[in-house]
Amino acid sequence: MTKKILISDPTLRDGNHAVRHQLSRESFIAYCRAAEAAGVPIVEVGHGNGLGASSMLVGECSLTDDEILSLSRANLINSKLGIHVIPGFCTIKNDLVKAIEAGVDVFRVASHCTEADITDRHIGYIRQAGKQAFGVLMMSHMTSPAILLEESKKMESYGAEAIIIMDSAGAYFPEDVTERISTLVDGLNIPVGFHGHNNLGMAIINSVNAVNAGATIIDGTIRGFGAGAGNTQLEVLVAVFERLGFETGINLYKILDAADIAEKEFNPVAPHVSPLSIVSGLAGVFSGFSKPVGRAAQDYHVDPRDIFFELGKRNAVAGQESLIIEVARELAALNSVKDS
């Protein structure tokens, strides 16, 4: 029996990190249509940190959530419309109610990997409304497989219908993925998914390992468009899965066409494994920090790599962008002491 893999495509969500959340209306329309044509099952859209996250802390979005949702909804027919939300940024009243009205199909409710209990009410609300809710554990490299399972079980008990673990810093090696995914597959009654980042060049092989360990949902973005070094590159993923005999339902030629469209549409910012994103992977710090770290390094005349390693030491989590400036200031002060 061939393995069926559900591909969820956050190009229009994670990709927003790569352009400081400035994706245009035209980009949303063009890519929704391309993904629809290729038969991508779930198209995830929004601010890089999800609905309700547009902010000075993590970056302001050029489009409102409402605009993004109505644009995307209008251009998706067979592909499901997905969103990402992080309680603490979003609230039920401000964001989820609107998203349900806007016709979102799949709600991916995320928390830092050890904080699943903040998703209880949000997952519950979505299920009450009869919508599909997935639980997402971010920065999953920061805890052990056993704790990941415990947190996943919390989300399962709230009503999550799948659990996706994110390698937000692109820090995993293939065997790390195998260990975690198989722990979750053994311990949960719901499907398990993997969301890779490419900081250390491991995104594709990590996704293949995830499937071999029992994962049935894999995230990938076109051209790898996403935070930091980028995500698992979707068109490569589809090709590799086809060769391995995993069924994705995505048309290879059409997704390659989508990659061409994306190349033009998202130019010139297609992410690549930059020196800084390698450091972010090694330090185990959220890939999305690379842009603000670069800026802080310039402002305070310090080495951005030092900032990353220091953030890693302090266990910075996504959403703690404010810590970047503090670290940069402290490093600058330290440097001036050394200089004098």
């Binding site: 609230t91 009243k93 903040i118 009410r121 266990n315 989590v317 400036i325």
Partner: protein
């Protein structure tokens, strides 16, 4: 009205907030805790209160209904949902209420900003907003004293995961909505946003809050002195309040970061988020206690 010249206060809710308040009240010259009421005699807070020789009850609000003379002021440390019922009862009994929940029934209170107003005009229900609100709103208010037409204010707090109990986690939405409303109220900004991040780092981080203000042509020196003056006011009742990044211009925004170190009374020092809202509540209760003493003298 008072017992040996002291204001009689009751605490309902025997969790972390209630118990820490109790320890702070024990030090007060102007207040005495005459009732510590929860639901469960086996809770750690109840046991501590019992050891301290305070009258305890597991009947919650009923303990006050059954003996209305037991107190003049009530700290409600239960939940927003429960507070609605509690206030209906306590209002009839004519009690002062300091509401520690995000129920938003009373007047929003930041002692450094509007203590006096909260004491005047017969206000009986004082709402202490949220921990993030107590730490960030004073800064927003100081900036608003310089620029009265701020376009947008945002506050992002990160707190130690360990300092966020089940109730905090369950009420994240209420936290955000209440903080945003109060922020709007005290800054007059056109738009406001509040964000809360739980940080699981071990050892736990101190509570840290960053205030972002979008202002056309900011007057940085004036903002700086207004913020410094506000920080001094806060330090008077929150000893662990500290400015980490003074107002700094970054692009089109002014950024300020503060940190709150807890007093370590009942809770660990990293729980600055719980400490600051309690310090603020105690500051208000002390004012009520002393103004009563004055009026009697």
């Amino acid at each position: 009205m008072t017992l040996r010249g002291k204001l009689k206060v009751a605490i309902i809710g025997s969790g972390n907030i209630g118990t820490d308040l109790l320890i702070k009240i024990m030090r007060s010259e102007h207040m005495i805790c005459t009732l510590f009421a929860g639901r469960n005699f086996n809770s750690a807070g109840m046991k501590r209160a019992n050891l301290l020789g305070v009258t305890i009850s597991d009947r919650g609000i009923e303990a006050i209904v059954n003996d209305p003379a037991i107190c003049d002021l009530v700290f409600d440390c239960t939940s927003a949902h429960a507070h609605i019922e509690h206030w209906a009862i306590l209002e009839k009994l004519g009690k002062y209420v300091i509401d520690m929940t995000p129920a938003k029934l009373g007047v929003f209170c930041i002692p450094a900003i509007n203590a006096a107003e909260c004491l005047n005009g017969g206000i009986r229900n004082i709402n202490m907003i949220t921990c993030g609100g107590q730490s960030s709103i004073p800064i927003a208010n100081a900036i608003a004293q310089v620029h009265n037409n701020i376009e947008y204010i945002e506050v992002a707090s990160s707190i130690a995961s360990r300092s966020a109990g089940p109730a905090t986690r369950h009420n994240l939405d209420e936290y955000i909505e209440t903080t945003q409303d109060a922020l709007q109220n005290f800054s007059n900004a056109r738009r406001t946003k509040a964000i809360l991040i739980l940080n699981p780092a071990n050892p736990p981080i101190d509570m840290q809050t960053t205030i972002y203000a979008k202002i056309a042509n900011p007057d940085l020196p004036a903002i700086h002195s207004a913020v410094m003056a506000m920080v001094e006011k806060l330090k008077a009742y929150v000893p662990g309040y500290k400015l980490i990044v003074p107002p700094t211009i970054e692009g089109d925004k002014v950024i300020t970061t503060i940190k709150v170190l807890g007093a370590g009374d009942y809770l660990p020092q990293y729980a600055g988020n719980l400490d600051i809202i309690n310090c603020a509540a105690i500051a208000m209760a002390e004012l009520i206690a002393t103004s009563n003493l004055t009026s009697e003298a």
